[in-house]
């Protein structure tokens, strides 16, 4: 035990001040001391608690003398008396010299980040800055019954606890020093709640305007390959019973071995972006599927084959021109549909509520990633139109390579991006549009083509540069492989992908959508 239970602790009110109330001090850790200690209750003026980084109790410690002893007894004589008292256990007679009790202002420990973890903090340095090592006789804590389970290691001077509830907790560190002084340092600890316990999962209104299921998933066999998709409402939306703003759509043409993959992320601030993303994916998917039939590929195949062999600029221009009519037209059609929906909704609103309310495409703001993939006997032709954030990559781990299929849009601050619905992403110059928004490649094979909204890329890639990092894609794939049984190639893959979408990442709680062709 850190304290000497035989020590006689006697203290009287400070005569000079005269206004103190007398109060008994609870003996440490439930031990009964054979004599009660009288201390004054004269609170020091409210001072800013110091943090434990400095010395304990701040620089002018001790600031509050709660009780003092008869000054005449302090000294060598008293020290000898204390020593002899200690050798005389349980005599029941207060033979030792009185001990001065010095109460210091509150010191704050660094916050405990969340409940349920093992918290510990070293106090050795703080003790060393307050006392000379030879001064200290013993150090310990008075264990308050507050459910925090304080503990103190007398050797290492580390204080620890395992809080089960959030809140503010205090414990007293008692330092017995030479000259019969006990310094009491109240230590205060703030324990944050575990954010996981604070998130609520409130369903979005089933019959609300543009209602959408809070999650969605899909699986489709495509010859040897499969398309799997999952979309999960983010915790930040679930907390507020707001709907999911992400969406996805896909199409596979078995006759032409051609897939269309589409994901979209409705802007968080736009009130109807859930509908914007839905219109965007459906329209774009349908348009591309419609314009890439047998005749289209018959016309394009020689150019794509030639480009694969020679990478010549003539073939490249031809392919880009055709992608302009396929992908960019599809994206623009989606934008037009959104403009139209805004107008129609305004009219409906007026008819239904007899209220004039202005709606515009801005209220439906959404990103769009639109990927077209077609298998030829010489390899895979893959083309993408991308506006906004998120990410799309052709993952080729056997080549230790990922082809990021475009350039993400980002602004000066977090969350800023471009949307399909903005006029600024539609320059008049077709070449500018192609250069900025269209990307195509021909590859022999791939492990997967992966499309993601920023709900996935933000936590998994963190920065734009990391979207080009094969290590990050490898990590993502390894993480997925632990949860998703890819080889099963049935609906359970989509179930597992959707379940994986619930992964925990502090501060990243946006809607998450992922589509994989593998």
């Amino acid at each position: 035990m850190w304290w000497d239970k035989n020590k006689r602790e006697t203290a009287v009110g400070n005569e000079s001040s005269g206004k103190e109330k007398q109060e008994s001090v609870t003996p440490p850790q439930g031990e009964t001391s054979d004599q009660q200690v009288q201390v004054s209750d004269d609170k020091p003026s409210v001072k800013e608690p110091t943090t434990v980084e400095g010395s304990l109790g701040g620089n002018n410690a001790p600031t509050a003398i709660e009780a003092t002893v008869d000054q005449a007894d302090v000294g060598d004589k008293a020290g000898n008396a204390a020593a002899s008292a200690a050798e005389e256990p349980n005599s029941g007679v207060p033979v030792g010299p009185p001990v001065t009790l010095l109460k210091h202002p509150v010191t704050r420990l660094p916050n405990c980040k969340i409940t349920g973890i093992d918290y510990e903090h070293p106090l050795a340095a703080a003790l060393a800055s307050s006392f000379q090592p030879h001064e200290i006789k013993s150090v310990g804590i008075t264990n308050k019954a507050d459910g925090v389970n304080w503990a103190f290691n007398e050797q290492s001077h580390v204080i620890s606890c395992k809080p089960t509830a959030a809140g503010e907790f205090e414990v007293e560190l008692c330092v017995d020093v030479q000259k019969h002084e006990r310094h009491v340092f109240p230590l205060r600890l703030t324990v944050n709640p575990d954010p996981k316990t604070l998130w609520k999962n409130l369903p979005s209104p089933k019959n609300g305007v543009y209602a959408k299921p809070d999650c969605d998933k899909a699986f489709l066999s495509c010859g040897d390959l499969s398309i799997v998709a999952a979309s999960q409402r983010g915790r930040s939306h679930a907390q507020e019973a707001k709907p999911r703003d992400d969406d996805f759509a896909y199409n596979y043409d078995p006759d032409n071995a051609r897939a269309v993959l589409v994901v979209a992320d409705g802007a968080g601030y736009a009130k109807f972006s859930r509908k914007g993303s839905k219109i965007a994916v459906d329209t774009a998917c349908e348009q591309v599927a419609h314009s890439t039939g047998k005749d289209y590929w018959a016309e394009m195949e020689p150019h794509i084959r030639k480009w694969k062999e020679t990478q010549d600029s003539v073939s490249e221009k031809t392919i880009q021109k055709s992608l302009y009519t396929v992908l960019i037209h599809a994206a623009f059609e989606a934008k037009k549909k959104i403009d139209q929906e805004a107008k129609e909704h305004e009219a409906r609103y007026k008819a239904d509520y007899n209220k004039a309310e202005k709606f515009s495409a801005k209220d439906y703001a959404t990103t769009l990633i639109l990927t077209l993939a077609k298998k030829f006997d010489f390899g895979w032709f893959i083309a993408t139109y991308w506006v906004g954030d998120g990410g799309v990559g052709i993952y080729q781990p056997n080549l230790n390579k990922v082809i990021l299929h475009g350039i993400p849009d980002s602004g000066e601050y977090g969350g800023q991006t471009c949307f399909l619905t903005m006029d600024s992403v539609w320059p008049n110059d077709a070449n500018v549009l192609i250069q900025r928004r269209i990307r195509f490649d021909v590859v022999d094979s791939f492990k997967a083509i992966i499309l993601m909204t920023d709900g996935v890329t933000d936590p998994k890639f963190e920065t734009e540069n990391n979207l080009n990092s094969i290590i990050r894609w490898d990590d993502l794939w390894a993480d997925l492989a632990k949860a998703v049984p890819w080889e099963k190639r049935d609906g359970s893959v989509a179930d597992s992908l959707l379940a994986w979408m619930d992964f925990w990442s502090s501060g990243n709680h946006d809607d998450r959508t992922m589509m994989v062709l593998y």
Partner: protein, 211 residues
């Protein structure tokens, strides 16, 4: 993790001494306590406090809510209100602390600025110079609180896109104000993906919105 930086500028001129500043301290405690209970704020919000009287100082650098330990704010006996100096300091701090525009780091959300004053700037020249500087920092919202009858609302109109006023500087009113600040920060933390100006929740009964 993307941070939501929140700057609180608090007038500590002599007129705030006594009950007003004690109410501010109590209000800040409530503010932080309620942010700790909001998962989005707990995970993303960072708070900085700058006080201003005869000069401006950072009493709390930008700190995540989970690590935050509130200082106790004190006031001098008397003295001028150097609001312009406070704006200059917050611009410097934003430039230093808010992470923007890089492909290598995770960008912060647009910061929020709250300024609370019970008077009017004594450094008017500096104040007028700093208003456009503040605008350049792209705060998602600049909210001014005119506390008490002496607060000059007109001066705040150039600066803030939301202004509220408090009739009295007592603890009940401040408590409502800080509860509203907390709700505003929470709504800032939730408007993930926002590019437009932040729309703040409606203020409570004793906090009047000034149009």
């Amino acid at each position: 993790m993307r941070r939501l930086p929140v700057y609180l500028l608090i007038d500590t001129s002599g007129s705030m001494k006594g009950e007003p500043i004690e109410a501010v301290n109590a209000g800040l405690q409530t503010l932080v306590a309620s942010l700790r209970r909001d998962p989005q704020a707990l995970e993303t919000a960072c708070l900085s406090i700058i006080t201003f009287d005869k000069d401006a100082r950072v009493v709390l650098p930008l700190t995540p809510i989970e690590e935050l330990q509130l200082p106790v704010i004190a006031t001098p006996e008397s003295g001028p209100t150097m609001t312009g100096a406070a704006l200059e300091l917050v611009c410097q701090r934003v430039d230093q602390e808010v992470r923007t525009q890089s492909a290598d780091v995770k960008r912060d959300w647009k910061p929020l600025l709250f300024i609370m004053t019970d008077g009017s700037p004594n450094d008017i020249q500096k104040y007028k110079e700093m208003v456009p500087e503040c605008k350049k920092r792209h705060f998602a919202a600049i909210t001014a609180c005119a506390a008490g009858v002496s607060a000059k609302i007109d001066m705040l109109k150039d600066l803030a896109n939301n202004i509220v006023s408090l009739d009295t500087c007592d603890s009940a009113t401040f408590s409502q104000f800080f509860a509203w600040v907390s709700a505003s920060i929470s709504s800032g933390a939730q408007s993930v993906g926002a590019t437009s100006q932040l729309v703040l929740p409606p203020p409570p009964a004793d906090v009047y919105k000034v149009d």
